[in-house]
Amino acid sequence: MKILVCMKQVPQKDAPLKLNDAGTWIRDDVSYEVNEPDAFALEEALRQKEKHKGEVVVVTAGPARAMQVLREALAKGADRAIHLEGDAFVGLDAYNTARAIAAAIVIDQGKDEKFDLIFTGLQSDDYGYAQTGVILAEILGLPHATIIMQIEKRIDQNDGGIRVKRELEAGFFQFVDMPLPAVLTIQSGINKLRYATLIGIKQAKTKPMRKVTMAEVQSAVGGNLQKIEKLHVPQKSKNTEFLEGPPAEVAKKLVEKLKNELRII
């Protein structure tokens, strides 16, 4: 199986974020990490390769710093990486991000990469669109399934297809049979993540990393179809009372509220 994993670098979960002066984006002097569901997508790709042989390729779109995500993926066992590199990729909407990725994998040195499976995380922790994977499937003309918790090759049917387990709302699930090639968006928790080994980290340095500039995919990318006009700090819907002081005092105050205001105790 030849698997592509689309990964993204996002601000660290507990990083304090500040808006830029124009209020249109965050200031980029924060720590970054791999988008969590993407880490599970990579892990799943590595497990599928261990079971069925093949190749795992990772791709990201973003500035130079985003290469860290690819390096980590190579250290964990991905075979090669594609970096759509440049600040120009940062502000793209999901439609154009998907078009840029599609252009980069279909026109790889004049030939289609022909992946059997393409994985993305189910959504990113920054934009939270939950769209790029599904859009990529439509652009490439492939079937897709979202929020996947399990992937099995259907050996019984011998039709080369897969059976995936979709997560639905409120604790419901569904198995879906589908042909390959296909695009799947992967849910966090589908597997247990591995750590990179020292040998892996060493080997990563010698693995191929292809750089793609915006100029190379420009013809596929158009103007954004949706525009972020302004970001702002959310308005509080509640009058939050902050309880302050040393822990023992805070505990007393809180119990007083639970007793006299909320009447829980």
């Binding site: 439609y95 920054d126 939270g128 929020i147 198995f175 928790g189 302004k230 822990p247 105790i265």
Partner: protein
């Protein structure tokens, strides 16, 4: 005059109640813009749902039918709606942000060379321009987002963004038109099996009056015990955000959020939970929320009645003691 189309959601022939919220959104936008509001239900043998919707204040209801629409597949739904919108154009198409909708809407929008603003929580109409608000960075910021291009513009609304009880009834029943779509065999590539529940729910958190819920801030599995003691002291149930259940620290049936249970207790005490959107949708119906988190900017504080910025490991032990004292 432009048209707003609300596509309600049905599953196995039953209306998903969250659709009423989307109709309320459509009615509000129609009142402000002066645009015409129509609704559609997409499925196989779903005329009864179309009639139910027709009792509300909408200009028209379409019953979009094809045998291939049952069971749900993204291929058939995207195909049918694209065909439908080709014959009955709409400027703005609204849907609830459900797992089903987010499975097919990006495909549909892409096929129509347009885009979807997903998981919106509200809108504004300013100087003839529609802006939709959506949360970003896990709820730390809210963005005003506008559409470019000629549409149709797709928008999905998060659960609870509009009030279902605000839906206005119509003076007379709206006309219902059945539109049959021929979805060719070759379009549908996925074969979905029966929907099922993993294990029987051992605990029904929806009935709990007090819930103590833990998030990443609990750090290690052994610390769950501390939260358990707090829950016991309060006489409440223990619950968790998704990462805790993913780690296997608590069983999946104690998960609160879009993929877990939706609860509305008298007290929701959030320990080390940052408050990502997927979690908030499962607990924002709580009558009161107490949040303890070391990050003063954690989004959970935006919906908290009482907030404690600090280390939960410092605060919870004396809190347990104080509760025990208060209960005598």
């Amino acid at each position: 005059m432009d048209t707003i189309l609300v596509v309600v959601e049905q599953r196995e022939g039953k209306l998903n109640r969250v659709s009423w919220e989307t109709i309320a959104a459509g009615q509000a936008i129609a009142a402000q813009t002066g645009w015409t509001l129509e609704a559609a239900v997409v499925g196989s043998g779903v005329a009864a749902i179309a009639s139910e919707i027709a009792g509300k204040k909408v200009a028209k209801v379409y019953d979009v039918e094809s045998a291939r629409l049952e069971p749900y597949t993204p291929d058939a739904f995207a195909y049918a709606l694209r065909e439908f919108l080709g014959k009955h154009p709409a400027k703005l198409v609204l849907m609830p942000h459900t797992y089903q909708v987010r499975d097919f809407v990006p495909k549909l929008a892409t096929a129509m060379q347009t885009t979807a603003i997903t998981d919106a929580i509200g809108y504004r109409y300013e100087g003839g321009k529609l802006l939709f608000t959506r949360q970003m960075f896990q709820g730390k910021f809210v963005a005003d987002v506008s559409f470019a291009g000629s549409g149709p513009y797709f928008v999905t609304f998060q659960n609870g963004s509009f009030r279902a009880d605000k839906v206005e009834a119509g003076a007379t029943a709206a006309p219902v038109e059945t539109v049959t779509i021929d979805v060719p065999d070759s379009v549908v590539r996925n074969k979905p099996q029966e929907v099922f529940k993993e294990a029987k729910q051992a605990v029904d958190l929806t009935q709990a009056e007090i819930i103590v819920s833990v998030g990443r801030g609990i750090k290690e599995q052994k610390n769950i015990e501390l939260a358990k003691q707090l829950a016991d002291a309060l006489g409440g149930e223990l619950a968790a955000s998704r990462p805790i259940c993913d780690n296997g620290w608590l069983p999946m049936d104690r998960q609160i959020g879009s993929s877990g249970q939706t609860v509305a207790p008298k007290l929701y005490l959030a320990l080390g939970i940052s408050g990502a959107i997927q979690h908030i949708v499962g607990m924002k119906g709580a009558r009161s929320v107490v949040a303890i988190n070391k990050d003063s900017e954690a989004p959970i504080f935006e919906i908290a009645d009482y907030a404690v910025v600090g280390n939960l490991f410092d605060i919870v032990p004396p809190l347990i003691e104080e509760i025990k004292k208060a209960k005598g």
